[in-house]
């Protein structure tokens, strides 16, 4: 019952919010917050409860639609609800003066509702239905801003339709073969399916998940969509929506097929998982270095979303305890810090009047200290600096790769991290450090309502970094569910027999080294602030506008790598689209406009029918 209540509140709340917006804006805002808060509370209530419940019967296909809750779906559901709540809170201030707010809140809540629907659905048809609802409602919000966002939205929706149709094919084919769509039933039937059929199911369904998760050759929609959406929604997009791909992959690979079958899927030495690994590695490296050459704050984050997806993939394709844990944990971590970073980018955009080009910014540390700390912690998490949550998950993934004898993959992962370090630093430096441009002299700190989600997320990043045991316990429950070996955990990390990671030790180590560094700095001479003109222009006057702020960061490196980063995939799709248009235009010419020809078509058809009937 509680699952149905959750769905009803989620969808109904969206509609009620919309209607409330027609009455007054304040009521709408309050309702939106209340609805998302209620979802968080309700979902926390079903922690560790296994429910499975029919809620609807489709008459003509003779199908029962089922809702269910298990550790996997709870894990994703709580992420969705949490980020949903925070982004709504953030929007209250961020979206204040924008137009069409009823529409905005409605769609945001609606997307959250449909995402919740996908994770708590217990059969493939309702999974698909919620998935599709999620796709089109996301489209409605991506394009919300107009301008460049329109093209981005179209790109997104077309790719996502392609993906979901592939999934539809799989689902219907499973249905017509086994006569059911219940996940657990299909899982038991699939144990006896032939290898060819299994491969068909796996490859076709992963097409859709690869698209939504933006892995390398199919990533092209993501950077545009994330960069052009409004910031609170960008954080929802890249924190949770994109990760539905991981959920789907996990569902099909481990819940439906299971390890036994996956291990059998070898064609020669190429196995299904090795292909996925390759995709993951390419995604990591490619995305990291593309992010490096971006100049747009949200685009950097968007590319990093693409790249971090690769780590998750590398984690979960190796069905070892540590790999799986690392992958899943990375999903959670990435969601926390990327949401935080998008909030940061949004706050800056909000205060500077929509500036996203980081070359025009600088020195904001003095004006927006809270935002800076949030950004610093977020970027540290992204890079994986110890004491942030990213460190633990990345550590687990590296460990898996190294212990599993995959030197190339590990190397790719490291290279990706170097790239991450570089663009992370660029992000921080260009926005917060360096010279403060004249026009931003009087900028204010982000409003309190926007600070609140940022602070919450910042704290969480650190908290999960120091006490990784809390989320890890949930994750090991997921692994138990699909009969994978769970990773033993302690509150501070991983016990000795499983590989030993104790964040308390790390904490002390870092505290001590910090203390030493602090001592060293105390001893060293104090820095002397000098006028900038002194060093730049030898004392002569230079107009402030001509100041050379931090542009062309990493210029030599960028020049070196840019030629290799041409987005071939994107160009390829563009050409396909153009070709299709051209073909369509040619086909349209069948309707020539002269009625004599039309009559000819009719007689031709008749003659053709008679011809084939006579002679065949």
């Amino acid at each position: 019952m509680i699952l149905i209540t959750i769905l009803l509140i989620a969808f109904g709340g969206a509609f009620v919010t919309y209607l409330a917006g027609k009455i007054s804006g304040k009521l709408r805002n309050i309702l939106a917050v209340l609805v998302s808060l209620a979802l968080v509370v309700l979902i926390s209530l079903i922690y560790r409860r296994e429910i499975s419940r029919e809620y609807y019967t489709l008459p003509f296909l003779n199908l029962k639609l089922i809702l269910m809750s298990n550790p996997l779906s709870w894990f994703f559901a709580i992420i969705i609800a949490g980020i949903g709540l925070l982004s709504i809170l953030y929007s209250l201030e961020y979206m204040k003066d924008k137009e069409r707010l009823d529409y905005y809140y409605f769609t945001l809540l609606f997307i959250n509702a449909s995402m919740l629907g996908t994770v708590i659905s217990g059969d493939l048809l309702s999974f698909f239905i919620f998935w599709e609802i999620m796709s089109w409602s996301t489209y409605l919000l991506i394009s919300y801003k107009g301008g460049k966002a329109i093209a981005a939205g179209l790109k997104y929706i077309i790719m996502s339709i392609i993906g979901s149709l592939a999934m539809l094919l799989v689902i219907i084919s499973l249905y017509s073969r086994y006569g059911t769509m219940e996940i657990s039933a299909i899982a038991s039937y699939m144990q006896t399916a032939s290898i060819g059929y299994t491969l068909f199911i796996l490859i076709t369904s992963s097409l859709s998940f690869v698209i939504i998760n933006a892995f390398w050759p199919l990533h092209t929609w993501l950077p545009d969509a994330h960069a052009e959406a409004v910031s609170p929604f960008s954080s929802v997009l890249s924190a949770v929506l994109v990760r539905k791909g991981i959920y789907g992959l996990y569902l099909f690979m481990y819940v439906i097929l299971g390890l036994n079958i996956l291990n059998k899927l070898h064609v020669g030495f190429i196995s299904f998982s090795s292909v996925l690994c390759g995709i993951g590695a390419v995604t990591i490296v490619f995305a990291a270095f593309t992010a490096l050459v971006q100049e747009d704050s949200k685009r950097i984050l968007a590319w990093s979303t693409v790249g971090q997806g690769g780590y998750m993939l590398l984690g979960i394709v190796f069905a070892t305890a540590s790999g799986m844990t690392g992958g899943m944990f990375h999903v959670l971590n990435h969601c926390i810090y990327i949401a935080l970073l998008f909030f940061v980018a949004g706050a800056i955009e909000h205060r500077t009047g929509g500036i996203r080009n980081i070359n025009e910014l600088g020195g904001l540390i003095k004006r927006m200290p809270v935002t800076f700390i949030a950004a610093l912690v977020g970027i540290s998490g992204l890079i994986g600096i110890p004491l942030t949550n990213g460190f633990v998950s990345k550590w687990l993934i590296y460990k898996t790769l190294i212990l599993g004898n995959h030197p190339f993959l590990a190397f790719a992962a490291f290279v990706g991290t170097w790239g991450t370090v570089l663009y992370g630093y660029k992000f921080i430096h260009n926005i917060f450090l360096g010279q403060l441009p004249e026009k931003y002299k009087h900028i204010k700190e982000a409003p309190l309502l926007m600070q609140l989600p940022m602070i919450l997320l910042t704290v969480t990043v650190i908290l999960f970094g120091v006490l990784p045991g809390i989320p890890l316990r949930v994750i090991s429950a997921i692994q138990r569910q699909v009969a994978l070996p769970p990773l033993q955990t302690t509150l501070f990390g991983i016990p000795k027999e499983a590989g030993e990671l104790n964040m308390i030790n790390v904490l002390f180590a870092i505290l001590i080294s910090c203390f030493i560094v602090w001592l060293l700095f105390r001893r060293a001479a104090k820095s002397v602030p000098v006028q900038q003109d002194d060093s730049y222009a030898a004392g002569s006057y230079v107009p402030k506008e001509k100041y050379h702020y931090t542009v062309n960061f990493y210029n030599p490196l960028s020049k070196m790598i840019t030629p290799y980063l041409r987005d071939v995939a994107s160009l390829f799709y563009l050409n396909i689209a153009r070709g299709t248009q051209r073909v369509c235009n040619i086909i349209r010419r069948v309707y020539v406009g002269e009625v004599g020809y039309y009559a000819m078509y009719i007689v031709l058809f008749l003659a053709f029918l008679i011809f084939i009937q006579m002679f065949f």
Partner: protein, 224 residues
Amino acid sequence: MRKIISLILLGIVCVGIIFALYSIPFGKDKIKVGKHYIYNGIKETGAVNIVTSVVLNYRGFDTLGEVTILFIAALGLGVVLYGKKKKRKEGLEPASLVLYTGCRFLFPLILLFGAYIFIHGHLTPGGGFQGGAIIASGFLLSYLGCPRKWISKERFNITESLGGLVFVIMGLIGLTIGGYFLSNFLPKGIANTLFSAGIIPILYCAVGFKVGAELAGIIYNMIE
């Protein structure tokens, strides 16, 4: 080029038709349902003209549709020619006296003949459509011969509608009395007399008026 292609296509169709017609020999007796009508037609409908009994009784619904189609054509003409400038009316030259008198003389006779045709539809060859067409030709004559004496279109419209309504209402009365739409609820009378065959003469009168009015209306529209 186009001609050659058309010829080829038509040739193929022609071959098909030739094959098809093998099993339908010409002039042989292959009537099935029709035989029933011929043998039982007078008994069942009271009309000696079997074609009429088929048109108005056995397949009366077709005829209703047919009347409707003519009605549609008249309406459609009105729609298509709506708003066209009436230019030529003034420039018409009055007809010569001989023509004028002749028209006026013939006009009632033609109407009478038409009425005869449709009233006797169940007895002799002919019927509502034929009679209506004859009536319309009378109007055509009057339009051509004496352009001043045009009858207003309003009346045509009313006649049309009334004719159609009579048909439908007769059908509905048949439904209530006889249990079937268009059933022959009036007494059948003695075959081969004028007042026989139940509702058939009534329907044919309605059809006759309607068709006459519609065709005349179409002619009017076209001439205008």
